[in-house]
């Protein structure tokens, strides 16, 4: 399939990037990518990795899909969990409720986009404001701590020696499940079609609205899980968490090959670009480069990669223009 070929190019580009970063880092700082350091990196990378997975699905489903409220959901769900635990609710119940609330928030987003036909940028911009506001209101603007000790397991637990719990038990399974969903299940097939060509998908009998709604709900779920991990890692829930995650998630998804025009994107691609971004961040800290420079560099990389991607996109549009002309 042609698209697989394009994906392979994308993977290659990302892997080369990773290799360059790793080699360069080790030259500047021997031992930069020691196994302990990698464990450290993965501790931080899992949260944004999960969120980026959700964002990838939303973007792939096309129709201008995007979710600017992911950071806010991340914050609100952790506040809900922490608040409940502080009120004495059983930890598992609190976590469960928080995760369900995340799914509900995703549902709200999806409903606005599909049923109310509000453009995704605006709908999720609005919910971002609302969810952030709710997080501040519930927590009264302060961090909430005081969770039971067992809660630390999500963000601080280790398995098989020192491998971080969230990486092995949450992120990897998530990658596998979503990867399977995309490439082997009916839903994945419907998702690709919906993103590639909305109209033909509908003609083929696919309920495109339902497909998109599910992507938003899945994202809500992933953000909630990330929120639990994040607040467990610090044993503190913060209402102002996740501010930078919105744009970071979009960057990672697009860097990983998800096309804003819909229909393209893979779990592997997003996984690879998550590695790139997390690695870069860690390495920059090691060699003392300010995070802002790194953000700027990522901005440049983003534009360059999309420019490259777009050689295909531009050709496609040109083709459709000629076809339309013929029809007239």
């Amino acid at each position: 399939m042609k698209s697989f070929g394009k994906s392979l190019n994308q993977y290659l580009a990302l892997i080369i990037l990773i290799v360059i970063v790793v080699v360069g880092a080790n030259m500047l700082y021997p031992g930069a990518t020691s196994i302990d350091n990698i464990y450290s990196m993965s501790t931080f990378g899992v949260e944004i990795g999960l969120i980026a997975l959700g964002m990838t699905l939303i973007i792939m489903a096309g129709g201008g899909g995007i979710d600017l409220s992911v950071g806010a959901i991340y914050a609100l769900t952790q506040i809900i969990a922490a608040y409940l635990m502080a009120e004495g609710v059983n930890m598992w119940a609190a976590v469960g409720i928080a995760i369900l609330s995340g799914v509900f928030m995703g549902f709200v987003n999806g409903y606005m986009v599909t049923k109310l036909r509000i453009p995704a940028i605006i709908a999720t911009l609005a919910t971002m404001y609302v969810f952030n506001g709710l997080a501040l209101l519930i927590s009264n603007g302060v961090n909430i701590a005081g969770m039971p000790e067992e809660f630390a397991i999500f963000g601080q637990g280790v398995m098989f020696g020192n491998i971080p719990f969230q990486f092995i038990a949450i992120y990897l399974p998530a990658l596998i499940i979503i990867g399977y969903l995309l490439s082997r299940s009916l839903f994945g097939y419907q998702l690709y079609l919906t993103g590639t060509n909305d109209a033909s998908a509908k003609l083929a009998g696919i309920n495109t609205d339902r497909v998109r709604l599910i992507t938003y709900m899945l994202t809500g779920l992933l953000c909630a899980i990330a929120g639990i991990i994040g607040s467990s890692r610090l044993l503190t829930a913060r209402p102002d968490a996740g501010d930078i995650m919105n744009l970071q998630a979009v960057t990672i998804a697009v860097l990983g090959g998800a096309s804003i025009f819909g229909g393209r994107g893979t779990v592997i691609g997003t996984f690879l670009s998550t590695i790139v971004i997390t690695l870069l961040a860690y390495i920059c800290n090691l060699i003392n480069i300010n995070a802002v420079m790194q953000t700027g560099a990522i901005g440049i990389i983003l534009i360059v990669i999309t420019l490259g991607q777009n050689n295909f996109g531009g050709l496609k549009r040109l083709k459709s223009v000629f076809l339309a002309r013929k029809a007239v």
Partner: protein, 348 residues
């Protein structure tokens, strides 16, 4: 394609199998073994220690000054100094830096904490690797931190601001408070002491609800303007963080109420200089962040060398510095008050 499928199946089985096998998940307990000091006397004399510090955020002149002072100390005392931090006062970002520094096996890592509790796990991790964890400017609530270098006690700062405002408004009237973030440890502590002092010494003063403007001067101006309008009889205003005070001053100036509303608070000299000269602010408070940075390096170094801190210490270039063993905190000294007379002596 087939190979991918195989890979996925293998991965899936491993993971699920592991989880089913009653996985040995545990929260990493950082047993630090014997609480051994980094190095004792003679051995430590030749070693060059690496001290790392993560401020609340970088790009903020106050912390930039701390860095400057610390670099001076590092040069004079033969220490390697690392200064890096997030661009927003976000504790999760701060944690990433701290974690990375611990991985780099520095001798001591410290923070100006964005949150009193969120760094506990990392403090444990540092302890487990015999790395000293210290705080400067803003503390954490964790007995394992080896040292807290404080500019002035929270009480002294809060009381100083309260006293200045009480005096300037004549002991009664409405006073507003503008702070940066609702979650910041030190800022909240100061607000607490301001309230305590005013309740005791100037009970007729009516404090308005604290508002928040972030470390954002422009926002401070906007919010302050509107608070002044909402309370036309307001007599005074306190800026809790260095970004709030100049913002409030600009608001008062634009409202044409210079001299009618007393302003004080934490102020970075260059930020408040024009306002002090124009008489919009009479007195602003700070301390010398450069000296704080210097003291931080000095204090941590003593601990690394195994030298015990005395109740009163002689620090080169600073003078006598008090140490409180109970709270493990070094105190720089009383707050510095800027006014028309001395503001020109400072340039940062």
């Amino acid at each position: 394609m087939k190979s991918f499928k195989m890979l996925k199946i293998v991965l899936a089985t491993t993971v699920i199998g592991a989880m089913l096998a009653g996985c040995g998940v545990s929260v990493k307990k950082n047993e630090g073994g014997a609480a051994s000091p980094a190095a004792s006397g003679a051995n430590g004399a030749d070693k060059q220690y690496t001290i790392a510090f993560v401020p609340k955020l970088v790009g903020f002149p106050y912390f930039t000054s701390m860095d400057k002072g610390a670099q001076k100390a590092a040069k004079e005392l033969g220490v390697k100094w690392i200064y890096q931090g997030p661009t927003t006062a976000d504790v999760s970002e701060q944690a990433k830096y701290v974690s990375g520094l611990i991985d780099q096996k520095v001798d001591a890592v410290g923070v100006a904490a964005n949150s009193p509790t969120a760094l506990n796990q990392l403090i444990g991790k540092a302890k487990g690797q015999n790395i000293k964890f210290f705080t400067s400017d803003s503390d954490v609530t964790n007995p394992d931190r080896s040292l807290f270098v404080q500019q002035a006690t929270d009480k002294d700062l809060g009381y100083a601001m309260a006293d200045i405002i009480a005096e300037e408004v004549g002991g009664e009237g409405k006073v507003g408070i503008l702070s940066a973030g609702s979650t910041a440890t030190n800022l909240n502590a100061w607000i607490g002491f301001v309230k305590e002092r005013l309740a005791e010494k100037a009970p007729k003063i009516q404090l308005l609800d604290t508002q928040f403007a972030g470390e954002d001067i422009n926002k401070s101006t906007q919010i302050a303007s509107q608070i002044i309008a909402a309370n036309p009889d307001i007599k005074g205003f306190i800026g809790i963080s260095a970004a709030n005070t100049p913002g409030i001053a600009e608001a008062v100036k634009q409202a044409g109420k210079t001299g009618e509303i007393a302003i004080t608070g934490i102020g970075i000299p260059n930020g408040v200089k024009p306002y002090i000269k124009a008489g919009v602010i009479n007195k602003a408070i700070l301390w010398d962040p450069e000296k704080l940075g210097y003291l931080t390096v000095w204090g941590v170094l003593q601990q690394l060398k195994g030298v015990e801190l005395q109740a009163e210490n002689d620090v080169p270039g600073i003078g006598k510095v008090k140490y409180d063993a109970a709270t493990k905190s070094l105190l720089l000294g009383p707050p510095l008050v800027f006014d028309k007379e001395n503001i020109d002596n400072y340039d940062f």
